[in-house]
């Protein structure tokens, strides 16, 4: 695969940085394309080629990362965290969060609070990035796979 123009990559990085800085905001392709100074038609494909995932899924990982941080390090109610991280409904937040991380927001909070840590030794945003969900497949696909896994064994031969 031929490489991408570093100058284009630097501008795509700017769009990624802007999502990082304000992941609770809406980032439709036209807005991102404008930040990067590329056409809308070009943007999504170039972004995925550069960073390995489509821009909307990247945004989702950042929202989950931020929600995880707020669950762990604050006592904000889960409803408040859902709205602060860009979800319009608590139900959607809870469902997507569980699909991506494998546990509900409440479960994660309870588990993290019970675990000692030394997070003040590492720059917070870098630590956050290290725990970002590695969402290499779409959430809907992950949901299907997880459902499939739980039935594995008896149904193995039926998987195409």
């Amino acid at each position: 695969m031929p490489g991408q123009d570093p100058e284009l990559l630097r501008r795509l990085l700017r769009a990624k940085d802007r999502m990082d800085a304000a992941s609770h905001e809406e980032w439709p392709v036209p807005r991102l394309a404008q930040v990067s100074g590329v056409s809308e038609a070009h943007f999504a494909r170039s972004f995925k080629e550069a960073f390995g995932i489509p821009p909307h899924r990247y945004l989702l990982t950042r929202r989950i990362e931020r929600a995880t941080f707020l669950l762990r390090d604050t006592d904000l109610p889960i409803t408040e965290i859902a709205f602060q991280t860009g979800w319009n409904s608590l139900g959607t937040f809870g469902r997507v969060f569980r699909d991506v991380t494998g546990e509900s927001p409440g479960q994660l909070r309870a588990r993290e609070k019970a675990t000692p840590h030394r997070r003040d030794q590492v720059p917070a945003c870098i630590l956050g990035a290290a725990h970002r969900p590695d969402l290499t497949i779409a959430v809907s696909e992950k949901r299907r796979q997880d459902a499939g896994d739980s039935m594995n064994g008896s149904q193995e031969t039926e998987v195409p």
Binding site: P6, D120, C125
Partner: protein, 140 residues
């Protein structure tokens, strides 16, 4: 912990940059580093800068180029830098908010405004090439 005690330790750590002149201007004029070494040898330029408070350490500003790297490798390195995929860098400052205001006024591209956390304040910026810095307030 005092600095520059013996003669042993890390002397130079290099960054890859897309353009050394642009990088020198950024680190010297915007961040306030000083030029330490600037030696040219044909197309190659050994360029290092220094933080004014840290005389035992140099930050190298290098371009991925032939003949150290074949052209495909150099291209890959330029892409990696432009994607912001190089390792994190940390600049320690006395007053993060004041430094943020000062650097922002000079046109530094901030990726994160100052945030209070864990008893300190941190912000984030990038150099023109895409290298990402965290700017963290020293704990008093």
């Amino acid at each position: 912990m005092s600095q520059n005690v013996g003669s042993q330790g890390v002397g130079v750590v290099g960054l890859y940059v897309r353009d050394q002149e642009e990088a020198l201007q950024f680190y010297a004029e915007k961040l306030g580093f000083r030029l330490h070494t600037d030696v040219r040898n044909g197309d190659y330029r050994w360029l290092t800068v220094q933080h004014p408070d840290q005389p035992s350490f140099q930050l190298g500003l290098f371009t991925p180029q032939a003949p150290m790297h074949d052209s495909a490798t150099a291209q890959t390195l330029r892409e990696i830098v432009a994607k912001g995929a190089m390792p994190p860098l940390v600049l320690v400052v006395d007053d993060c908010r004041a430094a943020y205001d000062r650097l922002r006024a000079r046109g530094v591209e901030f990726t994160q405004e100052p945030i209070d956390r864990y008893g300190s304040v941190d912000a984030g910026f990038r150099d023109p090439s895409g290298n990402g810095w965290k700017m963290i307030e020293a704990r008093q």
